[in-house]
């Protein structure tokens, strides 16, 4: 690497200033504020406030609603991540192997990527609408009493379905480019060494895709935790009885609709810590299995 010498020792800092200020304004400052508010108890009208140390945390962790939301968020994230990764990989593998119409498949599978989460939610609410939603009618026609408005399980399945569907296209793009980056001669060498295509996939292709998979695993978990907010807000809004409330959505509801600034700040700090620990864990243990 070439080392650049600057005459003035402040110039390098000037160059990183834009990036630093973006991080400071949009991450460090709000995070600090969240930490600050999480120690404050404010009355409903915002007139008086009191420093209460860990009272907010205590009440959050003792709240059965919060534990239920945590449970749903974990199951939701695991399933959304699993399905969107698995289906994205499957489609990418099949597209990569297809000889004819490769471009067409690629284009079609990439389309959903361009749709905003809120629009996906809106579309989902049409599809699953009780009045005349096609998927609603179809599922009920199959004999399943599918009622996302009143049945918690239906609502949860619907959310997992829609959230996974939205993310498949992103995973598809990354997996496809990952597959195309595998040298052709390695695939050919494995064709000579191993007859079974399933075994070839798991012993050669999947390990060579591991950097892509690892990256997508982290981004998908973050997606399921945070980016599904718009989707939930346009479909169930946590309904029927809060069973489809992810942690991120609960923070919004408690803080902005419930005006419990202290409680929701405590929740967001907890969420931040949780994601941090999860990511550190992934880097520490999973990354060892990644072959760059």
């Amino acid at each position: 690497m070439k080392k650049v010498q600057f005459n003035n020792r402040f110039i390098p800092y000037l160059f990183i200033l834009p990036q630093i200020s973006i991080i400071a304004i949009f991450f460090l400052w709000p995070s600090a504020m969240a930490v600050y508010y999480s120690f404050i108890l404010e009355d409903a009208f915002g007139i008086s406030s009191e420093f209460v140390w860990f009272e907010n945390y205590k009440s959050v962790l003792l709240d059965s609603d919060y534990i239920a939301s945590l449970g749903f968020t974990l199951i939701f994230s695991v399933l959304v991540t699993f399905f969107s990764l698995a289906i994205g990989l499957f489609l990418a593998y099949k597209t990569d192997k297809s000889i004819k119409q490769k471009g067409l498949y690629r284009g079609l599978f990439m389309w959903p990527y361009a749709i905003a989460p809120a629009v996906v939610g809106l579309m989902a609410s049409f599809f699953f609408s009780q009045s005349n939603g096609d998927l609603y009618n179809f599922l009920n026609y199959l004999g399943w009493e599918f009622e996302p408005k009143s049945d918690p399980l239906s609502a949860q399945i619907m959310l997992i379905f829609v959230a996974s569907w939205k993310q498949i296209s992103v995973n598809f793009i990354f997996f496809l480019s990952g597959l195309q980056a595998i040298p052709k001669s390695i695939i050919e060498a494995s064709l000579i060494d191993c007859k079974s295509s399933i075994k070839r996939f798991w012993t050669i292709i999947f390990p060579l895709l591991s950097p892509t998979t690892f990256f997508l695993l982290i981004t998908n978990i973050v997606y399921a935790f945070f980016d599904t907010f718009g989707l939930i807000d346009t479909t169930t809004r946590g309904a029927p009885m809060g069973e489809t409330k992810t942690l991120a959505y609960k923070i919004y509801q408690d803080g902005f609709l419930g005006a419990d600034i202290g409680g929701s700040s405590a929740q967001s700090v907890l969420l931040m810590i949780f994601i941090l620990v999860l990511t550190i864990f992934q880097f520490k243990y999973l990354e060892k299995k990644v072959h760059y």
Partner: protein, 350 residues
């Protein structure tokens, strides 16, 4: 007894674009065959068709009496060494060597036995637990060879295995490959664009040009009796000198000298071929003198190449002396017994 047989094999994409045009050939057990040709002549495609990595558009490929057209590469009992080695980057050398055996359900003991003997043979014992990224080019090459040898296949296929190595290592590996072949005796097909590799490695050389076989023969036959201008120019460094000369009443004229033709020939022009080593700077028996214009002299230490022209035909002369001259003209003596005559239209030997 033919071991590998190609019967009227053709390859085309979408019905046109013929890459391999109706090739038939037979290879005996234990033979080392080198397919050589310029880039784009279809030599790699031909090899990949034998391996099963490319479909066959027409014809049959027979390995050990069995037609293998529709048999998967894994079931053809062949092993291939790729140009860029194609080692599995996520597996260490040991796993790279044993991967193909494991998938063929060979017992652990047997695999271990073979790994030990192969790594000894190729001197890669110390590398068994390293990843390919931690190996040098020559070491990767050895491992790639090992992965092929360990399978004990019916057929070895080499796809320009040495072209990623530097000149010195290439020379060394070339010798090792030939030694290994003499030791193991496995029928081998080796594709290269390097005529030196072809000359030194092959029992028989197949010269491919534009998807067709130009000539098949031992290195000696090919070098001494090239049957076309293409072959004569392709084999040998420097390439054979070809002079286009006008024909007059069964004599040909080059510069101010004329040479009698043995047979009658009824085209206007003829191509006369002479190898650089059959030209001398001093008079000798059966020689004729030509006066040429010197373009450039190249000194290699042990020998010199004189690049010259006569009537716009380039002529390269090889001399074992260190030539220094200020003049721009030179007398050269060519051996009339070592002249080759090629037809003008087809470039075939006469």
């Amino acid at each position: 007894m033919l071991y590998l047989e190609l019967k009227n094999v053709s390859k085309n994409y979408d019905g046109k674009n013929k890459i391999i045009k109706d090739i038939s050939l037979g290879i005996k057990k234990g033979e080392f065959i080198v397919i050589v040709g310029p880039s784009g002549c279809g030599k790699s495609t031909l090899l990949r068709m034998v391996a099963g990595l490319e479909d066959i558009s027409d014809g049959d490929i027979v390995i050990d009496k069995a037609v293998v057209n529709n048999i998967s590469p894994a079931d053809r009992d062949i092993a291939m060494v790729f140009q860029n080695y194609a080692l599995y980057p996520h597996m260490n050398v040991l796993k790279n060597l044993s991967y193909g055996l494991k998938n063929r359900k060979i017992s652990k003991d047997e695999i271990e036995k073979r790994v030990v003997s192969i790594s000894k043979l190729l001197q890669i014992e110390e590398l068994l637990h390293r990843k390919p990224s931690e190996l040098s080019g020559g070491q990767k090459q050895r491992v790639a060879m090992g992965r092929a040898i360990i399978r004990k296949p019916k057929l070895f296929l080499f796809d320009e295995p040495l072209s990623n190595l530097d000149a010195k290592l290439r020379h060394q590996m070339r010798i090792e490959i030939r030694k290994l072949h003499d030791k193991l005796g496995i029928t081998s097909v080796y594709v290269t664009h390097d005529q030196v590799e072809a000359m030194t490695l092959a029992d028989r050389i197949i010269i491919l040009n534009g998807g067709k076989i130009e000539q098949i023969g031992t290195p000696k036959e090919i070098y001494e009796n090239p049957n076309s201008i293409f072959v004569s120019k392709f084999m040998g460094t420097p390439p054979m000198n070809i002079i286009k000369a006008k024909v007059k009443n069964s004599t040909i004229e080059i510069g101010d000298i004329s040479i009698d033709l043995k047979n009658s020939y009824n085209e206007e022009y003829i191509h006369v071929g002479i190898r650089a080593e059959d030209i001398s700077l001093s008079d000798f028996n059966n020689s004729i003198k030509l006066r040429v214009d010197i373009d450039m002299i190249e000194h290699l230490g042990s020998e010199s190449f004189i690049y010259s022209t006569i009537e716009n035909n380039p002529i390269i002369v090889k001399s074992s002396e260190f030539i220094e001259t200020k003049e721009d003209k030179l007398d050269i003596y060519i051996n009339t017994k070592k002249l080759y005559f090629f037809s003008d239209k087809e470039g075939k030997i006469l």
